[in-house]
Amino acid sequence: MAGAGDMMPRMIERVAELGIGKNFHFTGFLHGTEVEQIFTMSDLYVMPSVSEPFGISPLEAMIYDTPVIISRQSGVAEILNHALKVDFWDVDDIANKIIAILRYPVLVGEIVEKTRDELRSIRWEYAAEKIVEVYRRVLH
């Protein structure tokens, strides 16, 4: 579990309560090269956000060829086609997909390959052009 936030103390307590602490790492907030390191080490990045206006971290994970599972309730879910998507409340589906990534290497291969193409089409410039286009249409 990477990062920090208000929920962290409660999560640590919950993990301890379930007795699964030996399977969990709480990294706390990660800086610069640590972010790079953690993505490189990971088989999978899960962002099960309850609410996320955009959520840029899945894009960072994808740069390191790490497949991602994101909640449909995140903004970034709208622009990514080659990520696995889940509803944040559906824990069975999240578990099912986590296990699928770990069990089916072909799935990882296909997602990573398609993700590389997809990342090329996500640029601030393109987003800015779209917004300029909307202004143009409204003004003319």
Binding site: N81, H82, A95, A100, Y104, L107, E110
Partner: protein, 405 residues
């Protein structure tokens, strides 16, 4: 005297259940029976019943001058038998008129041809028997799922005693040749090839209700005019191969598709030179315009490329190879139900849902995925395959245990 060959393909994919990792080794039911029944009922009301009624009326009205070719997949015939005998009766009545030729294909809409010669032949024979039993015809025309074919398939199908294959006319095969002729493969004696006229078929199947299309709205007399025009080029057949579900499902009732079909025979037959014929009648009447050397032209790899929407990515290949890798294990169990389950999982639709690229040309209406994403389709399918694989092994052990007791 040019002939119009109107061929309807009737098939419905069966939906698999939402099957998660937690179901593996616990639940061996793979199909979503409730949803499949719902879809079957919906399609029966919207398409199959009204379409069958129209076909029957048209056949009677034109007293033998309106003729069609139909292929209903075996897996759908099974469902009609079990759940909608009224629809099946409609097809039987159409068969009884003698104006409809029933076309043979693989029973489970499968791509077995590329993976197992034995399985392919068994499925074709199963479908043949089914057609004989239900419609009283011994089929002489064949179509492969997705209208695919290659030199190998053509040779095997000729050996199996068929007269004609209905196929997809790819540019690289036909070149500048027209799909409006009868063709023969070099080396084949009796067997002929009929190629789908993509433009005219897709005018109905794809563009009919597209209000942005320059020819919208399409009327029967305008369309018949285009068909009559093919006469100028010296063509002698117009092969219109469309899904039966075009009538009332892909093109909804409100688009006027039923009225269009009702008027079509009259408009086409207005031109005294034109007539409707079934595939076998056409190849009896016309000599082949040319011999195509498919042996070098269409390799197995080409066929796979043409099937790229079904077998193009690693997910699809992994899933289908895993499935066919189980063949000997499944067969060794000698259990009809297990064999049937394995065959249900062969339906090409399952692999189409794992397609990660843009939809294949001309298959616009198929751009629909019950899983939401190709990755979800793959995960669901692989979880099921995993369970099925374990189930085959486990059951065997329990039988052995039973005997030793």
């Amino acid at each position: 005297m040019p002939s119009v060959c109107l061929h309807f393909h009737v098939h419905q994919p069966r939906w698999l259940r939402h099957y998660t990792f937690f179901d593996i080794n616990h639940d061996h039911v793979y199909e979503d029976a409730e949803r499949n029944l719902h879809i079957l009922n919906k399609l029966s009301e919207k398409c199959y019943i009204p379409a069958n009624n129209i076909m029957l009326k048209l056949i009677k009205k034109y007293k033998g001058d309106f003729r069609i070719a139909i292929s209903v997949t075996g897996m759908l015939l099974d469902q009609f038998e079990k759940l909608r005998s009224d629809v099946l009766d409609g097809f039987k009545r159409i068969a009884d008129t003698g104006c409809a030729e029933f076309v043979n294909e693989t029973y489970y809409h499968s791509l077995a041809f590329l993976f197992s010669a034995r399985e392919f032949k068994e499925q074709v024979m199963l479908h043949k028997k089914k057609i004989k039993a239900l419609f009283g015809q011994t089929p002489k025309a064949f179509r492969h799922a997705e209208l695919m074919y290659n030199g190998n398939l053509t040779r095997i199908i000729e050996k199996m005693g068929y007269n004609v294959i209905l196929a997809r006319g790819a540019d690289k095969i036909l070149g500048r040749r027209s799909p409006g002729r009868v063709y023969q493969q070099a080396g084949c004696k009796k067997l002929r090839l009929l190629f789908r006229n993509h433009r005219l078929s897709d005018d109905i199947a794809v563009r009919f209700s597209d209000s942005k299309w320059s020819e919208y709205p399409l009327t029967a007399d305008k369309y018949a005019h285009w068909i009559h025009h093919t006469n100028d080029t010296g063509d002698n057949v117009v092969n219109l191969f469309v899904d039966y579900e075009t009538l009332g499902e892909h093109q909804k009732k409100e688009t006027g598709i039923f009225a269009f079909i009702r008027e079509l025979p009259r408009e086409i037959l207005k031109h005294a030179d034109f007539k409707f014929q079934t595939p076998s009648e056409i190849v009896d009447e016309y000599e082949p315009a040319a011999q195509l050397d498919l042996t070098n032209l269409i390799s197995q790899a080409d066929m796979e490329r043409d099937l790229s929407a079904w077998l193009g990515n690693t997910l699809q290949k992994d899933a289908i190879n895993t499935l066919y890798g189980m063949e000997s294990k499944v067969r060794s169990r000698k259990d009809g139900r297990l064999l049937n389950t394995w065959r249900m999982l062969q339906a090409s639709d399952h692999f189409y849902y794992m397609h990660t690229g843009s939809p294949a040309d001309g298959d616009g209406h198929k751009d629909f995925n019950p899983y939401g994403s190709p990755y979800d389709a793959y995960i669901n399918y692989m979880n099921i395959i995993d369970d099925f694989s374990g189930f085959i092994g486990k059951k065997k052990r329990s039988v052995i245990n039973g005997k030793t007791k």
